[in-house]
Symmetry: C2
Subunit: 560 residues, 2 copies
């Protein structure tokens, strides 16, 4: 047995309650190292006297590690446990003190693993709609001009021309409203909009006033109407909360610029000195942008202010959640309070962080529900675009990504191929339509919720920001030749039918190593996706897949 | 390189800020596997362009793993980093994606490790007094009778007789007050008292009324006087917060027994049914004690109530902190709120959990400051008492224990050899005086604060509860032959002189494998402890230590 590979961390993605009497336990071991894995468990007050023993299943198989798992249904939730493993030759116990040939249950209270008690307050809640959401992400200025009567003087980009960082093309909320039917027909049931608040930029990540809708985008009435229209269709809407930083034109920061330490807002920011200065830069900012001072979210008054904004749009406009910009640079302390307050006004409001890295410490049920899953993006790029991973490598990697979080969180992850912050996926795969389509299948079948960036459905190209934020080509979107739209429709139909859950998900490569394979299980139906990105035919369990193609089956029947 | 052994977890004991611009980074690797370890780092917005590189030191060396560490002083705290290691043959990068021969810093934003930003609110504060506290733990009923005028009718144990679970010997707060000088002379600067609140038991862990001092123990005036006297001597006092459960005689539970679901307190407990019943037991309790119903600490009103108690004794009596009984069975959510509220009334109040197991998830600065370190207890027993570990094994184990938590937390750990919940250490080592003395040296030199159970200083014996709770033998304590008291005095003197910090601590076994060795560093002075529990002479760096003995040096000079 490879003892170095064995890992279990209590009260983490290796050990998490899923209800008041159910808990999932995982154990990491070296890949293909163990033959059998059991959990030996009992109430912590009983385990010195008697124990139960259950076989664990290999749930995930990553690059270097296998992950065994079991869901225990408990009468007494004060759980004590050790693992018992067989490597084909020897048996070992595995406890807080590592692997041993013997284990003294009578002294177990010193070194068994434990989940001491399932407290209701510590269970990560499942936002049901988020587990079956299909997000359509819109960069508003480039999507659709809906208000024909507004002052168009600010527009400096002819619709369809390539944007620069200062381009304004004129998209607005009314434009989105006009396209709700279109979006809905594509199978989407949720919108994620980049920021809509008062700002001088086209992207509006430098907000001047959070309580105003930017006049280029419309009015509060427009937002109300949009939310109402979406809800009537059973659709959800998530807005972008830019709470890490603000525009220097914000009145509070302007007050500090004017009055320095005399301003009541001096401690709302992180300023080393009486007055903020740009040269040398003596205050914290977003990235290196001196026009975006960072909020001091350790300050309770700042917390009060930002949370009042988040609650306002839920209470007054009935939005369904927030995507949190640069959320990893804000304190856990803030997000814990944020969650409590947001959930108190709308229990199933979605809280989705922008953490590009492993965010398990934000995803234990006390902070966010979900993140934008850029680890998935990277794996998809390495496989489809960069040839850095073959089917075997990417299937391992996808397993490792799933091992980062609990089942509950995996089912709520916001998975994406691209966004306003990356190159367009279609450009990354050098305009290979099969690759984009195969990747979309992977996106829709992967545990969590797919998020599709506007324009993906008409093969929109583009490099890094601002090129990825081109104007929507409505002619191409409505073209009869469009073959992405039927695919998206089919994929959401399949998911709606199957209603997958994380349990039983299997991602692997075929025996001939050519195919990336994924099996998902729902309450009634199952699906299987086979992707072959090699130049030769491949096969999985006697199902052939041609070179550079993919196949999708539901309940054994081929649907694509 | 043993890739399976490599472990780094961001935002954990492997990566924690210690001030607003300092962070400690650790990397785990297989023991003796690596030759050199560097960290390559930069602001996350810069690392694609330029990087800094620093050598890491081997800080701890455990049973199977080495732990490399570095303390970085940052200008920009938005830290991105990867490790770079040399195993004597090859060089590897180690990132979120594991070990690789190449690393693309330009795409690092997908998979570098990061601490995204040091927010003030997320830094674990150091309670300064707790890093140099010497606790004397008192089980009150058995310590000293001080109030000669009280009603003694409840006393059913003659002082010095062996107690049973229902024994009352008569110890009280006035008794402790009478002995403050004695305790202070022994070198202790802090008291930890088991519960003092109204209860029918001798241990008082089944509390009827938290707002009353038990009449057997004294009055609120007695507590006030005790705290005042201690504070005048520069001593601290920590009380026992039993917030997991309560006595069934508590008026709120009694109300539920009477009125069932009609009681406003029904949801203060966890009851499956309208009324609590004992047969079958339909409500949650402590262990299997039906007379100790468990509080529902997920209920905000219960939180309010318990926190009001904790604040009351700080605000009204000026106590210095709380030891939290059965704290691991209470929710993280409760402890997070508890900490905020307690620290708001007394910033340096100590919060010490009773978690017998790895508690790193409670020790990130948002819940407790410290725990009773029973992992240390177990290691000491395995080495001194049970012969389960030799010097090499125990030194490895002690390193592993230190690797569980941050430097900050290690300096505040409440270390102990025994308590009211274990057999007496002196009995565990079969009354071997040398072993007890050597273990006390280890206890005092180990990072954190020593906690000594009353009576240790006069070789009190005893098995498991209630036998470990025998009456204090005051004759033996004042005997001129007592050789433990001078040792305790010496040890606290040394610690006060040296003022150790975690950094630079070295625990290892001598080359001949006979000695357990520990080096500690303070601002001005250093200490070195050598323990030989074998039957042969041993030697470390030319310092000989006789069989079954120990030696202690300060700044190179032998003091014991």
């Amino acid at each position: 047995m490879n003892q170095f590979a064995m890992l279990h961390i209590t009260d983490s993605e290796y050990c998490f309650p899923v209800s008041e009497n159910e808990i999932v336990i995982r154990l990491r071991a070296a890949k293909n190292d163990l033959v059998k894995v059991w959990i030996i468990y009992e109430s912590k007050y009983q385990i010195g006297i008697s124990q139960q023993k259950k076989l664990m299943e290999k749930e995930l198989s990553g690059t270097m590690f296998d992950y065994y798992a079991i869901r225990l249904n408990l009468t007494d939730t004060r759980l004590a446990y050790v693992f018992y493993v067989f490597d084909g030759k020897d048996y070992y116990y595995f406890s807080e003190d590592g692997a041993t040939k013997e284990y003294d249950f009578k002294k177990g209270y010193y070194n068994f693993f434990q989940y001491p008690y399932i407290n209701r307050a510590d269970i990560a809640d499942r936002v049901e709609w988020l587990t079956n959401a299909f997000f359509y992400q819109i960069f508003i200025d480039r999507f659709c001009i809906g208000d024909a009567y507004k002052d168009m003087d600010y527009i400096n980009l002819r619709w369809g021309d390539i944007p620069n960082p200062k381009s304004f093309a004129g998209g607005d909320l009314k434009g989105i409203l006009n396209k709700v039917d279109y979006i809905h027909k594509l199978g989407f049931n949720a919108l994620y909009l980049t920021p809509i608040f008062k700002s001088i930029s086209n992207h509006k990540y430098d907000i001047i006033d959070y309580f105003e809708i930017d006049r280029h985008f419309g009015t509060k009435e427009d937002l109300k109407k949009l939310v109402k229209t979406l809800h009537e269709k059973g659709m959800k809407i998530v807005l972008d909360a830019v709470f890490n930083h603000v525009s220097e034109l914000n009145t509070m920061f302007a007050d500090v610029v004017k009055k320095g330490r005399q301003s009541p807002y001096h401690d709302y920011f992180v300023i080393r000195g009486d007055y903020p200065t740009k040269d040398p830069l003596n205050y914290e900012v977003f990235a290196s942008c001196d026009y975006m001072p960072k909020w001091n979210t350790s300050n309770k008054k700042v917390q009060d202010y930002l949370i009042s904004i988040a609650k306002y749009y839920i209470e007054e406009f009935d939005i369904d959640g927030w995507r949190l910009d640069v959320s990893d640079e804000i304190s856990h302390d803030f997000w814990r309070r944020f969650r409590k307050e947001i959930k108190s006004v709308k229990k199933d409001a979605a809280i989705i962080g922008e953490n590009w890295h492993n965010a398990s410490n934000y995803l234990k049920g006390d902070q966010y529900d979900s993140i934008m899953n850029y680890a998935f993006t990277k794996a998809a790029l390495d496989y489809f675009a960069y040839d850095k991973m073959d089917a075997e490598a990417v299937s391992n990697k996808l397993n490792d990504i799933l091992a980062r979080n609990s089942d509950t969180v995996n089912d709520m992850m916001m998975n994406l191929l691209d966004s306003h912050d990356t190159d367009r996926f279609f450009s990354e795969v050098h305009k290979d339509k099969i690759k984009l389509k195969a990747a979309l299948c992977l996106l829709y079948l992967f545990p969590g919720s797919p998020s599709v960036f506007y324009g993906t459905e008409n093969y929109t190209e583009g490099g890094y920001d601002p090129d990825c934020r081109r104007c929507m080509d409505w002619d191409k979107a409505s073209s009869k030749d469009n073959d992405i739209i039927p695919l998206l429709q089919k994929l959401s139909e399949i998911r709606n039918k199957c209603r997958f859950v994380f349990e039983g998900t299997r991602i692997y490569s075929s025996e001939d190593k050519k195919l990336l394979c994924m099996e998902r299980h729902g309450e009634k139906s199952c699906a299987k996706l086979l992707i072959n990105m090699t130049n030769e035919p491949g096969m999985d369990e006697s199902i052939p897949v041609e070179a550079r193609s993919f196949r999708l089956f539901v309940d054994g029947g081929s649907v694509i």
